[in-house]
Symmetry: C2
Subunit: 417 residues, 2 copies
């Protein structure tokens, strides 16, 4: 029988000693020319070899996949969404369950985001089809079909954000303090300061205003975190914003670098073509000895660009989201398994893949399941796409150790795109 115990965050006073000193650390093992590096993050629930792909388990589950499968596909760390778990089942319920990782039977390292991204997606971006990335090949799959697309559902003021629940329209409010409290209850090893994720369409004036507010929220997040968690059981990452503008990105990096964060997220909006450059501006300023998480970004080209420019962690819902619609990553680019051409294709999804799906099932089978509306098709596609991304970042890391990152990048992207 499962009972809330161990890492339950309802009773932090039961922890003994300086957990932080033992548990959270980051060390760089190998540097590339420029900003890139490979290293190791230690957490109370195990180590993360970096660079690493972080698997997203939005509502305390990776959609359609058990945590054993997540482990088996090589994932090192799972990230859940503060906004979603706050609304459902509620962070108090999650705390009673011993935190979201325990609730979902994930015993490895874990993260929660700040809720700031939902401020963007429910507010400025709501119903517009605008993604975090202003242009490029990213597909935007709306999961909010049927909602009134003319209304914003989040409103920002200096103190915080008021928003409507996407579930029942109830009004809720997040502040930096509330985000820290919720993330404390959710119980991840790594958490993020509350931030405002802006639209890539916002102008310099608005980006500046939002960034300054995010910096004030960062201070407030730190303060509340230190009150809640004086032993720093949870590592707190500050989130760099500033949109597409060099002056703002650099100012944001400088400002946050001066605060006592354990690591940093690079959040907000980019122009796809300038993303690498923007990340480079930021990581040239952030302290080298702390880990950097590129938030919500994860197409293969983006990951190469992020690593090359000094990022250590990447999370993205794309692998599972597109898999549910039949888009499958292969070494030669993606295929859409819903296409009739796969009906009699008895080869694996990706002939070079070592995932559970590719070892045991064919394109024809997963095509059949997807066309028949069988959820197992979504599960098998998601396992494959996640394994593909996890392995890609593993291979990138190995190429750093082997000193052939550029060759690997050229070879991989040349085939993929």
């Amino acid at each position: 029988m499962k009972t809330p115990e161990g890492n339950s965050l309802l009773t932090p006073e039961t922890s003994s000693g300086d957990v932080r000193a033992k548990s959270f650390s980051f060390t760089i093992s190998k540097k590339m020319d420029g900003l890139g590096r490979a290293g190791l993050i230690r957490t109370p629930h195990g180590d993360i070899q970096t660079p690493a792909f972080v698997v997203v388990g939005t509502k305390a589950n990776v959609k359609g996949i058990t945590s054993d499968m997540v482990r088996d596909l090589g994932a090192q760390v799972v990230l859940a969404n503060t906004y979603h778990l706050y609304l459902q089942p509620g962070d108090n319920i999650v705390a009673q369950a011993g935190g979201f990782p325990r609730m979902m039977n994930w015993d490895g390292p874990s993260m929660t985001d700040s809720g700031g991204f939902q401020v963007f997606s429910l507010g400025e971006a709501f119903g517009t089809g605008v993604s975090k990335v202003a242009s490029g090949e990213d597909i935007v799959v709306s999961e909010r079909k049927g909602y009134d697309k003319t209304n914003k559902n989040a409103f920002i003021d200096e103190d915080g954000v008021t928003f409507k629940s996407y579930i029942n329209g109830d009004q809720h409010r997040f502040t930096p303090e509330r985000s820290m409290e919720i993330q404390w209850n959710l119980g991840a090893d790594m958490i993020f300061a509350f931030d405002e994720c802006t639209s890539p369409l916002a102008d310099h004036d608005y980006q500046k205003e939002a960034m300054d507010r995010t910096h004030r929220w960062a201070e407030r997040s730190l303060k509340r975190h230190q009150e809640l968690d004086p032993k720093n059981i949870q590592a707190l990452f500050g989130v760099v914003q500033g949109g597409r503008f060099q002056d703002l990105r650099e100012e944001s990096a400088r400002t946050l670098a001066a605060m006592d964060f354990d690591g940093f997220g690079i959040g907000g909006s980019f122009n796809k073509d300038d993303m690498a450059q923007a990340v480079g501006w930021v990581n040239s300023i952030l302290p080298e000895e702390k880990p950097r998480h590129m938030l919500g970004i994860g197409e293969p080209a983006d990951v190469f660009a992020g690593v090359e420019n000094g990022c250590d962690l990447f999370d993205c819902v794309s692998p599972t989201r597109v898999a549910r619609h039949g888009r499958i990553y292969t070494a030669d680019g993606y295929i859409n398994l819903q296409n009739g051409g796969f009906k009699q294709d008895f080869t694996p999804l990706d002939p070079e893949c070592d995932c559970y799906t590719c070892q045991n099932y064919t394109r024809a089978y997963v095509h059949h399941l997807l066309r028949a509306g069988e959820m197992l098709g979504q599960t098998l596609g998601s396992i494959h796409n996640l394994r593909f991304m996890v392995r890609l970042v593993d291979d990138i890391r190995q190429s750093i150790y082997d000193g052939n990152f550029q060759e690997f990048k050229k070879e991989f992207l040349g085939r993929y795109y």
Copy 2:
């Protein structure tokens, strides 16, 4: 890479020797007072300890569950639906994949039904809410919502059945010969003669007419089977019909017993209260030395009644179908995990269960997933309910060996209902 080979039924001439003699057999190991027995079915893909619960993999997958999970929960044999696989992806595709078990990565014993049940559900029963069972506690969950409920979609004549595809309305036709050909392509170890499954509301005259036709179809099925499969690689079961009427059930059992079938299905409609009696009429006549499959029946009380009256195999979609709606079997009867009362229940789904779900997750977690519309909730619930039924029939079998079936039945049903 998977290629169609091995048990591919496109090239039966590649088989050598008398596969049947080596592969399909049934032996009784222990008899109860009356008709009940425990035994062993041997198939080309492994043994089945009987009585056994047969897991249903309608469209060549158990909904939401990988075949490894099906194995891990103790299932001995999987049954797929001829009607569904004929329409999607098509039996020729399945044959190219090496048969449905290979397609779905199931290497154990397998069965397909005849398609006759769909004649009933698309014809007489279409849109009426009438189940195979005329009364009792069975819940009927329509999966055909949105269809015009005033039209039948199947029409029976002496030669066969014409029906409309539920997918696109196209017209199709099954005959006994066609059913054998399709089941040959689907490649199961055990298959069923084509039959007409009548409504429990049909009168004696119609039941007699349908039963006589089913007997003529049984002869034609046998003949076509022997042409397709002279070495009898597939074991063919005849299906006893006759509705609720003793004279018809007995006549059907006598008629089919005289034909050269490898086993028997007991199909069609019953009054819930009389089911045990009707099965007893049939099994008193069927040859003792051949296995008997009670088709599409599988609530706990039904399984006890079936075993006690001489049935060896049971299949039912209920465990997974009701799990997807949150109904979870426990030793103390079923619970509905969607109910708000489970929001903070951090105990396993069934505290006495040894399934993967109960070992690793709580009621509160699966409640959360179901309420959040996360398909993993359906998967975890289905794993539990299937394990519950598989283990129940395993325990019934053990009670036969231990000589305490009646005690076990009384104890189990006393708690469950």
